[in-house]
């Protein structure tokens, strides 16, 4: 298995979907079965190797980069094909490979209009490569390429298969379809952020003479980046990652994009794409610019609690179920960012487990919302109700997942929130304790609000009597493709909840090593 440890294994995880996407181009459009099979097989190959990587991974050395490689790529600018994973990347890599497979399984029989499975699958596979690549890249240029690679497929996914209802934008006389507005908004926001992120990467390269993330982290730990330079660079990276997370007040693209995207698009967005931003903070911004991270940390913490409270309150104002779940992401990512801002092992481990848990839980919620829309043809919560009576199994799953989302102990959502709050009780030495303890208290109020809006949603959607307009309708409960896609997610919600060591076992050592090195 030596070949596997020399970078081939990770490269296969990243590029197997891309090979599948290219091969799909050759499949005739009419031959949907072949297209589906091909996509599933290549995504499964990617997942298989990700799981093999998890077994080959040396957990005793979780803090150092493993299974990596460094090959000459663009000597003209001094950038290499440098990859590798540590305990922070590993769970996210496996998560992204798994969510892609489940998305394809779910899609098997649920194609959004205008159909065209071939095109849809090609986009999913492109996304898979971009997401997995971001988690293994250890070179800033490579990271940038993968980070941007997800833009185009998601743009097309929202723009072509997205929501066709018309909206009127303030200040415009003509109506526009939601999908068109949401897709370009997503694209422009992200590109705006990443343009500045790129400038930050270049500046680091000039000061440090390298694009390699581990090398730059060494220099950062030695205090080589300081002064105005470091401040500006951190600001540029902050913009890029904060838009992606998204942090308040850069979040406005998120509700539109999530709501307009087709089900699978929302799932991938929520489960993986948002994590690219928070992962960027952990992997790049903090280790390379530790001193600046320290001075920005209170600001990040404040923005994070604003996001928690704002996201929750916004949820309470929604009438659209999918939009409610989208806003809940703003709040949950607030907890992740709060954990990161503490700069402590507990806080950042909380962020990692929070990212995985949010990926699994919110991914599941979007699946459920999509399937309900598929059956009811509406997302208006006022028209839903009594879902538990009409579709007991689906309703039960919704209740269960909502409980996980609100942070019920014993389920996956609990650990991220709990540990993030725990971390902010005692932030890194030198950070203002009063700011973080205040943040902790407000965050704790946020958990109550979170419980509030999720229970409110359950009450509106699941409980009560079915509305009269559905009388006489036959609703078929969860079908077999849905079972195949959802059961693994439900199992992992419980598994992470009762045995969080699945994630922290790898992440904790890696985070501790990262913090020890940086501070």
């Amino acid at each position: 298995m030596e070949w596997f440890d020399n970078g081939w294994g990770l490269s296969l995880v990243v590029f197997a979907p891309l090979v599948g996407a290219v091969a799909l181009l050759a499949v005739p459009k009419k031959d949907e079965e072949t297209a589906k099979l091909l996509a599933l097989v290549t995504a499964a190959v990617s997942l298989f190797f990700a799981v093999v990587a998890a077994f080959r991974f040396d957990y005793a050395e979780a803090g150092s980069l493993q299974l990596g490689a460094k090959l000459s790529w663009i000597p003209a600018i001094g950038s290499d094909y440098e990859i590798g994973i540590d305990g922070i990347s590993l769970p996210l890599l496996v998560l992204s490979a798994a969510i892609v497979v489940l998305s394809i399984v779910y899609s098997w029989d649920h194609w959004p209009e205008p159909h065209n499975p071939k095109g849809f699958l090609i986009l999913i596979l492109f996304l898979a490569t971009g997401m997995a690549g971001t988690f293994v890249a250890q070179d800033l240029v490579l990271f940038f390429i993968f980070f941007e690679l997800v833009l185009l497929p998601m743009y097309f996914m929202i723009g072509i298969w997205g929501d066709k209802t018309k909206i009127r934008l303030p200040g415009f006389s003509k109506e526009v379809e939601t999908r068109l507005y949401a897709s370009i908004k997503f694209f422009l926001f992200t590109l705006f952020g990443s343009a500045f992120m790129l400038l930050g990467f270049l500046a680091l390269n000039f000061r440090g003479g390298s694009f390699s993330i581990p090398e730059l982290a060494e220099m950062g730990a030695a205090g080589q980046f300081d002064g105005t330079f470091a401040f500006l660079v951190f600001g540029a990276l902050f913009l890029g990652f904060a838009v992606k997370v998204p942090m308040w007040p850069f979040h406005t693209w998120l509700p539109d994009a999530h709501t307009a995207a087709p089900t699978v698009g929302s799932v991938l967005l929520a489960a993986i794409l948002l994590k690219l931003g928070s992962y960027g903070f952990i992997r790049i911004a903090i280790p390379i610019l530790p001193d600046e991270a320290k001075s920005w940390a209170p600001a990040i913490a404040i923005l994070a609690v604003i996001a928690i409270i704002y996201g929750s309150l916004a949820c309470l104002a929604q009438t659209d179920m999918k939009r409610l779940i989208a806003f809940s992401s703003v709040g949950h990512m607030g907890f992740v960012m709060l954990g990161i801002a503490t700069l402590t092992p507990v806080g950042i481990t909380a962020a990692v487990i929070g990212m995985v848990a949010h990926g699994v839980i919110t991914g599941m919620l979007f699946f459920l919302a999509g399937s309900m829309q598929h059956r009811y043809h509406t997302r208006e919560m006022a028209r839903l109700g009594g879902n538990l009576k009409l579709m007991p199994i689906l309703g039960g799953m919704l209740g269960f997942t909502a409980m996980a989302s609100l942070g019920l102990p014993g389920l996956a959502g609990f650990w991220g929130e709990f540990m993030a709050l725990l971390g902010s009780y005692q932030p890194l030495e030198g950070l203002s304790v009063s700011v973080f303890r205040t943040a902790m208290v407000i965050g704790a109020v946020g958990t109550v609000l979170t419980a509030g809006y999720l229970l409110w949603m359950l009450q509106k959607v699941n409980l009560g009597e079915p509305k009269e307009e559905w009388a006489g309708h036959e609703f078929h409960d969860v079908d077999r493709y849905e079972y195949a896609a959802w059961v693994p997610l439900l199992i992992s919600i419980v598994a992470i909840g009762v045995y969080p060591k699945i994630i922290t076992g790898a992440a904790n050592d890696a985070v501790t090593a990262l913090i020890d090195k940086a501070f």
Binding site: G159, L188, L191, F192, A195
Partner: protein, 493 residues
């Protein structure tokens, strides 16, 4: 002493030009397209001595007292012009045949203009440079008015001609001032003499006038106003050539005079080109937002790209030290990559305009649904122009930012910020075309495909070459980067 080996590429293309003209005399009307084949064969032959030269030991071969030099820069640009010619000929065959007149002369003119670019890459004195530039421009004037039955084509050719002559006059006047002050025509001589005259207003004026002359050639704002009209009125393959070959020739000129001849006076051309760069990017992009016609949109986008290509110059002029090589490399990389993707974009315009019977963005609605191949190609080339990874355009913008930020000061950071904002603006109008093609509903009655169905084989070949180029360079930028780096040795000299 002539170095025939070094001159062989230019001689072979010159021979090809004559062969095409001669062949036209003997070919019957229905087989005129064979003259394009002659041209393509000739261009292929010309690549052979270039490869042997590149593989040879002598890095620099200098002839005629240093007026004509074959070095890595010259070789890289010669290959670029030859490949541009290749693609333009492929794009033209079906298009020109459809119109049925003056086929032989058409290919003759394209190749002659191309030869001008090749000579230009080797020229190292003002007179050779000027003659080469005129050899690029002269045929281009005729090509722009090639559809003589079309008043629009006539009008723009005349416009292009008058502006061209004006810019040539300005350029020549500037050159005469520089010659008068330094007493030398060769770049090396000017460089050596410039230290003693750098403060003289006349010398400064000379440099600025030379830059203005080239500013017209590369259609930089505020010398750009001929470009959108000319691009729109000229036959589309000619527009493709103007926006790539002719513009690249202009950049070869600016590169040579700035980094070699005026190497002693970066404090003059640096700020001047800073202004041109900032204006071109901003005006080009903002006006492009409002365009309804695809060719006009690409015309303004090409003005904006000229601005991006000028950015490294501004940086090089404003900062000290060994930054020159990287700035030079950045512009060369940008020109090469821009060539590939812009030719691709125009090839798409030719095919899509034929398929839809219109050049307006709105008439391309739903093109992706009834011609998916064309839609995918359009997406690849337009997003590459926008600079989205992993398509080649990202690397062009990347090295541009790299060059401008290397020894950052207030001015260069400001320019980088302007460029960054412009990169986002540009995305919007490229994405608008892509959005129309993929996301807007197709009209109820799609016009039936004009016979013969499908994309002409020659155009399909051009598509294949360009699409592969855009993707390969995007994934493995070293494919372009190493050549640009080799070429940048010139700036360090």
């Amino acid at each position: 002493m002539f170095d025939y080996h070094a001159l062989a590429p230019d001689f072979i293309v010159a021979g090809t030009v004559l062969a095409v003209l001669g062949a036209d005399l003997f070919l019957p009307q229905e087989r005129k397209w064979l003259s394009a084949v002659v041209g393509i064969v000739g261009l292929t032959l010309a690549l052979v001595p270039i490869f042997t030269l590149a593989a040879g030991d002598d890095a620099v071969r200098s002839m005629m007292d240093g007026s004509y030099v074959v070095d890595d820069f010259a070789l890289v640009l010669k290959v670029f012009f030859i490949l541009t010619g290749y693609v333009v000929l492929l794009m033209s065959v079906a298009y020109v045949e459809g119109d049925r007149y003056y086929q032989g002369e058409y290919y003759f003119l394209v190749l002659a203009s191309l030869l001008g670019g090749m000579v230009m890459a080797s020229s190292r004195d003002l007179v050779t440079l000027f003659v080469a530039l005129e050899l690029v421009s002269g045929p281009a004037f005729l090509l722009a008015g090639w559809r003589k039955g079309d008043t629009r084509s006539n009008e723009v050719a005349l416009k292009f001609f008058i502006i061209g002559v004006l810019s040539a006059a300005i350029l020549l006047y500037g050159m005469s001032l520089v010659y008068g002050m330094t007493g030398s025509l060769s770049f090396e001589g000017i460089k050596a003499a410039s230290a003693s005259v750098a403060e003289e207003p006349v010398f400064v004026l000379g440099i600025l006038l030379v830059l203005v002359g080239f500013g017209f050639k590369v259609s930089a704002v505020p010398f750009h106003f001929w470009a959108p009209d000319t691009y729109e009125g000229a036959p589309t393959p000619v527009t493709a050539y103007l926006s790539v070959g002719s513009k690249a020739a202009g950049f070869v000129g600016i590169l040579l005079v700035s980094y070699v001849a005026f190497a002693g006076a970066p404090d003059i051309w640096g700020p001047a080109l800073w202004i041109l760069a900032a204006l071109s990017m901003t005006v080009g992009n903002l006006v492009a937002l409002r365009q309804e016609n695809v060719v006009r949109l690409l015309a303004y986008s090409s003005i904006a790209h000229a601005g991006f290509m000028l950015v490294p110059f501004a940086a090089a002029g404003l900062i000290e030290g060994d930054s020159l090589n990287l700035a030079f490399e950045a512009t060369v990389s940008y020109v090469l990559i821009y060539g590939i993707m812009n030719l691709g974009a125009f090839a798409v315009v030719i095919a899509a305009a034929r398929r839809t019977g219109s050049g307006r963005v709105r008439d391309w609605a739903g093109l992706g649904s009834y011609a998916p191949g064309l839609g995918i190609l359009l997406t690849i080339f337009f997003f590459s122009l926008a600079g989205i990874p992993p398509l080649a355009g990202w690397y062009a913008k990347f090295v541009m930012f790299l060059a401008v930020l290397q020894n950052a000061n207030g001015w260069t950071v400001a320019l980088a910020a302007i460029a960054a904002v412009n990169a986002v603006i540009a995305l919007y109008y490229y994405a608008r075309v892509v959005q129309t093609v993929w996301m807007d509903p197709a009209p109820e009655h799609v016009a039936p495909e004009p016979a013969p169905a499908g994309v002409a084989p020659s155009l399909a070949l051009a598509f294949g070459m360009l699409a592969v180029g855009v993707i390969v360079v995007g994934v493995y930028p070293e494919a372009i980067g190493q050549f640009a780096k080799a070429a940048s040795a010139l700036a360090g000299g």
